[in-house]
């Protein structure tokens, strides 16, 4: 099956006063309709930039985008802004992280959603649009949608806002939905409901979802496939099952074991990754993770000079960018990856 979204060798760099930031550095992935790809990684690893690059929302004056982004067969990079614009909202839509700041404070929520609808349905009448939006608001679980239509974002609770945000993204039944940390701002109980909603809607609309998050809990619940990013590059890629149960990259192990597990022993310390993520302007040479990697020493310095490419991790569909050999990794994982649920 042809993936709906295909990204090949995406590179995004910003030129700022402190030098060049390679926010995304050679990223490739694909998402099919009806499936969810989760992009995981720590803050600054390039997740949001990837999402924005797909939508073509990066400011051309600041960001340089190269590579190929193919959406439903159309290559987007380099395409005229006007054409990309027509795809936005209809073929691909986005749910933003912070719904309060992502909505215009001065316009009623309903009108903002209606506006998104009418860009792509020029002939839709006012009343019809309203009916459509109200119905959608109800569908995403907003009680009293008629009343909420005319309320302002600041009058909504966090959960309602995020739901309205989702409604705005879904108003044109997009084929691709990009969700950038859709639940980080929310409480656990609300988060759970939003995730359910997303899953249900995906089934209904056969949407391809690109889910950006740093929370493995969320990944576990929603994702079919997972892409782990570190410093602008993919370090591991595979199905959710593969990545979560048998992670191959030391960074993924670290991430997984850093999360305090519900089943872990509270008496033991968490297995934290030492050090902190690299500064975006000063990414280490070789494997970007090597200064924090416990096993970097085992490759005779190769990690320090050579950048590992993404390659198959033995299992089909599961790929990893690490210089450690398969057995080496297996051994280490058996030794130290104990904290990882499995």
């Amino acid at each position: 099956m042809v993936p709906y979204l295909r990204v090949d060798d995406l590179r995004v760099s910003f030129t700022g006063s402190d030098g060049v930031v390679r926010a995304v550095d050679g990223l490739s992935f694909a998402v099919q309709r009806g499936r969810t790809l989760a992009v995981v990684g720590e803050s600054g690893s390039g997740k949001s930039v990837t999402a924005l690059a797909v939508l073509g929302l990066l400011d051309a004056r600041q960001a340089t985008v190269t590579g190929r982004i193919t959406l439903g067969g159309r290559q987007l990079v380099g395409r005229p802004e006007a054409e990309v614009r027509r795809l936005r909202g209809r073929d691909m839509a986005m749910i933003f992280q912070d719904p309060l700041s992502a909505m215009h404070p001065y316009y009623p929520v309903g009108r903002q959603i209606a506006e998104a609808y009418r860009v792509h349905h020029r002939r839709a009448g006012r009343a019809q649009t309203r009916r459509h939006v109200v119905e959608l608001l109800g569908r995403v679980g907003i009680a009293q949608p008629q009343r909420c239509y005319d309320q302002y974002p600041h009058e909504f609770s966090g959960g309602m806002r995020q739901r309205a945000m989702i409604a705005m993204a879904l108003v044109n039944d997009p084929a691709l939905l990009i969700a950038d940390e859709p639940t980080t701002a929310l409480d656990v109980t609300v988060q759970a409901r939003i995730l359910d909603l997303l899953a249900d809607l995906q089934v209904e609309f056969d949407t391809a979802i690109l889910l950006v998050t740093h929370d493995f809990g969320v990944v576990a619940q929603l994702a079919d496939d997972v892409l782990v990013m570190y410093a602008g590059r993919a370090v591991e890629q595979g199905s959710a099952e593969q990545v979560l149960r048998r992670p191959q990259h030391p960074y993924t192990w670290g991430l997984l074991s850093s999360v305090p597990s519900w089943h872990g022993d509270p008496a033991t310390d968490l297995a934290a990754i030492a050090g902190s993520p690299p500064s975006p302007t000063d990414v280490p040479a070789g494997c970007a993770f090597h200064p924090r990697c416990r096993y970097a020493a085992e490759t005779n310095g190769r990690c320090r000079v050579e950048r590992p490419e993404l390659r198959s991790a033995g299992v089909p569909g599961h790929r990893v960018a690490c210089h450690l050999g398969d057995e080496q990794r297996a051994r280490r994982y058996a030794q130290d990856g104990a904290g990882v649920p499995g």
Binding site: S17, A272, A274, G275
Partner: protein, 325 residues
């Protein structure tokens, strides 16, 4: 707990003793890299230097600000020669009628104007910062009072108060016969500017402090038992330097033109004190008959204010790199 525990995650940055770069130093470095800032700063420096060195310049130039050269005026009191009497002896020519040398008067005028504007800017900024800071931090009735005072100050017509106050104060302090030292007129001007100029700084600082007040480092200091003084001076003040500096840098040119504006309606300094404002005000009448007389003081004023504004902009950019002009 004598240093026994020292593990923790090893995210130490393996360097020797480093020198912290304070936000102030960073701003300074940014400023030094900014070409506009350098140029405008240099121009300002030159102006300041000229103002400070006025007596030296007078000695070198050989002409004082009160010397008259009426023999070089025609029957109408207009300067003879080209462009308002510009010559090797009189760089910028002569004033019509009284026949004083424009250049040296400009030099001294610069001195007066600078002094007035800078002192007034310092005062108004201090008043504004103190009132704004207190209102912002303490809130409540004090905030209400300060904001009402702001409204009141804005509602009081500045020019009219200035016009009314100057003679009253003169009579109060010097009776009717005593020599009124130029300092007095300067003082009154400064007072007027300070009393009317503080509102924008106060607003700015208040806004800043209100935002900072909610920041957790303030709460941390309070939780440690810090008093009002510590909070205002040690915690909040260092974080309001940027807006204070910027508003200061914009207040100075505003007062320079303000002094001129006051002269324009006849308040301000007396003929005795060479001042920019008075010169410009008097020169404007000669727009048709002696444009050079308008050009020199006017041009200098515009250059000065322009440099100040440029510098202020650069300063703001440096202090807040996020702001786009």
């Amino acid at each position: 707990m004598d240093g026994a525990v020292r593990t923790g995650a090893g995210d130490r940055i393996p360097t020797g003793r480093t020198v912290g770069r304070s936000p102030g130093r960073l701003a300074w470095m940014r400023l030094r890299r900014d070409r506009t800032a350098l140029v405008s700063g240099a121009v300002l420096g030159l102006f300041v230097l000229v103002a400070l060195a006025a007596p030296l310049i007078e000695a070198a130039y050989g002409i004082g600000p009160h010397d008259q050269f009426q023999s070089r005026l025609d029957g109408f009191g207009m300067p003879l020669g080209h462009a308002g009497g510009v010559s090797g002896e009189h760089f910028f020519g002569l004033e019509p009628r009284l026949g004083r040398d424009i250049f040296i008067r400009l030099v001294y005028g610069l001195r007066t104007s600078f002094f007035v504007a800078c002192t007034a800017a310092v005062l108004s900024t201090v008043i504004g910062a103190v009132l704004g800071g207190l209102a912002g931090y303490l809130g409540g009735w004090l905030d209400a009072v300060v904001s009402w005072l702001t409204d009141l100050t804005l509602a009081m017509p500045f020019l009219i108060v200035a016009l009314a106050l100057t003679p009253t104060l003169t009579a109060r302090f010097y009776g009717q016969r005593d020599e009124v030292p130029p300092v007095f007129g300067v003082g009154v001007l400064i007072a007027i500017f300070a009393v009317f100029g503080w509102t924008s700084t106060a607003r700015l600082v208040r806004g800043q402090v209100v935002a900072l007040r909610e920041r957790e480092f303030v709460a941390a200091a309070r939780a440690s038992g810090a008093g009002l003084g510590h909070l205002l001076v040690r915690q909040l003040l260092p974080n309001t330097w940027a807006p204070i500096l910027v508003s200061f840098s914009f207040a100075v040119p505003q007062f320079v033109t303000g002094e001129a504006a006051l002269s324009f309606i006849g308040v301000g300094l007396t003929e005795q004190t060479p001042s920019f404002g008075r010169m410009i005000y008097q020169s404007l009448d000669y727009l048709q008959t002696d444009p050079a007389f308008v050009l020199f003081p006017g041009g200098t004023l515009v250059a000065l204010v322009f440099a100040f504004n440029l510098f202020g902009d650069a300063l703001r950019d440096a202090l807040d790199p996020r702001s786009a002009r």
